[in-house]
Symmetry: D2
Subunit: 283 residues, 4 copies
């Protein structure tokens, strides 16, 4: 049941950050499974490839999300704990994580590259700015971070040598410690994950994983991924207030002169666009 194109990347290790990775372990379904599930609603059988593509676009555009839930992906992921803590907030997924109660933690920690060592953003309270730390500070900080990690792991090993229970010995290990897990999620919820985690407001260290997963999806479900890019990721949502403002500088009288073909707008999609324009005019 696995797409032939995808077979060769099953199990492949995609590097992330200094020691992390993403591996696609298994996948159930592909673009055609989305179509198959949607068609059970409409009581219709198989159609041409073109109609399939068009149906996937329609479903994505109109947020008919349940057919996308019919594709399921399972990943093996290695990631720093502070990234894992953001990741796990996505609740509609299945997880089996490496346990620091059962097993000894490994001597593996995240160290930012110097170009990721940025100043606190003044505008975005939750993020880093574009501004790099000066070279000297950067070198010092990274050196300090490494030394601290080394010290913490030595202390951890020292506690284990004293036979302290693992579940206690680990409590001073840092948030930069790597953990790993199996993570299984359906395509609809994965797109939602990507929408949030590919955003430039997302912390860089999780965005890196998002980008790798996006690359995998481009191979696994090319039609659905393109639809996701067109209708979700690169779409813009305009509030009522914003529409009333924007309205002032739109020349609606020139609407019919637009070359819709060149924008790949036709049929049902074009009608929907016209409905939206009408909504903006009447707002």
């Amino acid at each position: 049941m696995i797409n032939e194109n995808i077979k060769e990347i099953i199990g492949k290790e995609y590097k992330c950050l200094n020691k992390g990775f993403v591996r696609l372990i298994d996948i159930m379904g592909d673009d055609s499974s989305i179509v198959q599930a949607a068609r059970v609603s409409y009581g219709k059988g198989t159609k041409s490839v073109n109609e399939d593509l068009s149906l996937i676009n329609y479903l994505m555009r109109n947020r008919h999300t349940s057919p996308f839930e019919m594709v399921e992906l399972k990943f093996h992921i290695k990631l720093p704990i502070f990234v894992a803590r953001q990741w796990i907030r996505h609740r509609t997924a299945n997880v089996n994580e490496y346990s620091g109660r059962y097993s000894e933690m490994k001597n593996e920690f995240y160290i930012p590259e110097s170009e990721q060592l940025r100043l606190q953003s003044a505008i975005n309270k939750q993020g880093r700015s574009e501004e790099l730390v000066d070279n000297e500070t950067s070198d010092t900080v990274i050196e300090q971070m490494k030394n601290t990690q080394e010290f913490l792991f030595t202390e951890y090993e020292n506690f284990l040598d004293k036979k302290i229970a693992r579940e206690i010995a680990r409590i001073n290990l840092p948030l930069s410690t790597y953990t790993e897990w199996y993570w299984k999620i359906d395509l609809h919820n994965l797109f939602h994950f990507l929408e949030l985690r590919l955003d430039h407001h997302a912390q860089y260290e999780i965005r890196v994983y998002g980008e790798v997963i996006a690359d995998i999806l481009k191979l696994a479900v090319p039609y659905a991924y393109t639809a996701f890019e067109d209708y979700m990721l690169n779409s813009v949502n305009l509030s009522k207030k914003e529409l009333t403002a924007l309205k002032e500088i739109i020349s609606f009288d020139k609407f019919d002169q637009i070359n819709f073909d060149s924008h790949r707008l036709k049929g049902r999609e074009l009608s929907e666009f016209k409905e939206k324009i009408k909504k903006i005019i009447n707002i």
Copy 2:
């Protein structure tokens, strides 16, 4: 812990359709609970009412959904089974339904008003058109529906008289039979429910319930509901294709002449709008 304004509508029966209703049974939290939960993230305490309102708008605009999950509502609802079947597809909710296995079903059925007896839409494959059925047909159909419901209930009672198990006796009762349930859901998921069920593509018979619930929310969480209207319900999502088309008829050079104040766009919200405009220009 209950908003004073809301106390008087607790338990009140809001009629829906010919025999249905919505009753708000209980509510946990109000606008201030959304703010309270958000502030734990930011590590900040109470602020002014104005800042609360502004924070709720910010959260809604940026789809920070978890603070809205901190408000919980419980309803008692009476509705036809075919509406219940659409309703139950919203999975993130708690339900206790009247059971036709335990108890006898009641002689209560949905009958459409004649103005709801519309022709099949040719454009929208899943809906009715604007076009009314002619009066004569309408009268006949409604008469037939009533007779059939009466006949079906008599047959059901006849089966029960023969001591046939209730769980079997009921199988030919129609989808128009009324059922009832307790339904508990958090505010974020309720907004999602409303976004879908207030839409003009939703079946009329469930939209009626959506409108009543919307009215209740206007009283229960006025700030959050206004934000929902501004940033979700009345917002327009434009795909990449649509934006490239629209771009042709926008005069970006006049952007700075817009009177943003008159559209209530300022501060962080205005910056976000400018970011979107930049995104459209660069698309």
Copy 3:
């Protein structure tokens, strides 16, 4: 990634009731995937088949449910609406159902076999008794049911002929009407479904589907299914009260004379049993 044994039953139609069916459409994983996911927690690699079996038993016994969530199954199911209404209460699943708004419903209805036409149970308020309806009544009732279904479908077609919108025309169709859906669920939640739906308190008409799904699982995940039978389905949960009562008639002094080998109790499992016995003694 599909178990070779299972390939031949993919897509196969297992009949249920008079017109329903279950078809396994796709499956992600098998017994070894459960083990693989569990081992990531323990930080250990592949082991022998025996150790795998033993690990699955351990996980099931101790309700470590997340590794079972790593197997996902997708079914195509045709079932009467009253069964679908019970089924959908299991919320942790993905569903795409045939839509009576988009498409015309088909002339297919559930009719009970005469041996399923039972009297209302006096003890179990929600079920049928063992007692059959007498032959004459049974014949009459089944005949009436068929006639009613025929009549209702003719009326439905008649409404459609009048161009009444499908979403309205269908409201008097009975709960015995067949619908169909794609249904996707993980193995842990499927076991929970089976635990409830294989129970003799479950309505016969849904139990039939449960039994077919159980047969499929015996082929798809034989180790996990056996563990499910041993540790969930055929286990008995005894409340504190029941244990204090039972305690009176247990001869704990003979405990060590039990031939544990003959009951396949050894190692960690035997220790756990002894812990439970200690708990009962001290209750």
Copy 4:
């Protein structure tokens, strides 16, 4: 809508560990809400207190979980990050956590009391043993832990002084750092949380929180909590294998001599017990 008894503990800070706490912020419903929701299924109105108690017991015994979902609780909790990581695995809940991206972390860390500094268990691979570390080691380890935490916080502050973005500066903070969150969950899922987290296999540091929450529930939903203790927490689940072994030492012929009254077993509950005994005999 809030139980009078519970009002006085709303907001009260229950201390946990060295710096943590649990505060009940809000509650929707009480024992009577469970009964109310169950009765909608049975189509019955209010009954006597005795019948309410008996119904709650029946629902719990037979795992009719949905009425328990109709009670919702919201807590404010302060806890070490390694505890938070176990806690968040309970997915059916709503969470707003303090953010180390938005705000500076505080100088607050978990330090175990010396009696909790135990040796690794040899039997239970994921836990500590009963055996205490010797006093000298214990003093040294705790001293080291404190020094390390102090050092790590100083380094964190030093990074912040250099204007390093908060989201990066924090990565070497330890898992013992305190965080806090609002956590909202329904009673059924909270009982499931407690079943796992009150168990002696749960890590001590999360069990402490479980015990405080249990105390709160004893006040908030006394009937439901007693039912939880009788039918879940203190029940014993015996597998098929264990039952066949136990059967050897049960004198079933003395069953009728049991004084069921003294064990509070009567009516429907006694019948259910007899059914279980029959199941054991026939296993």
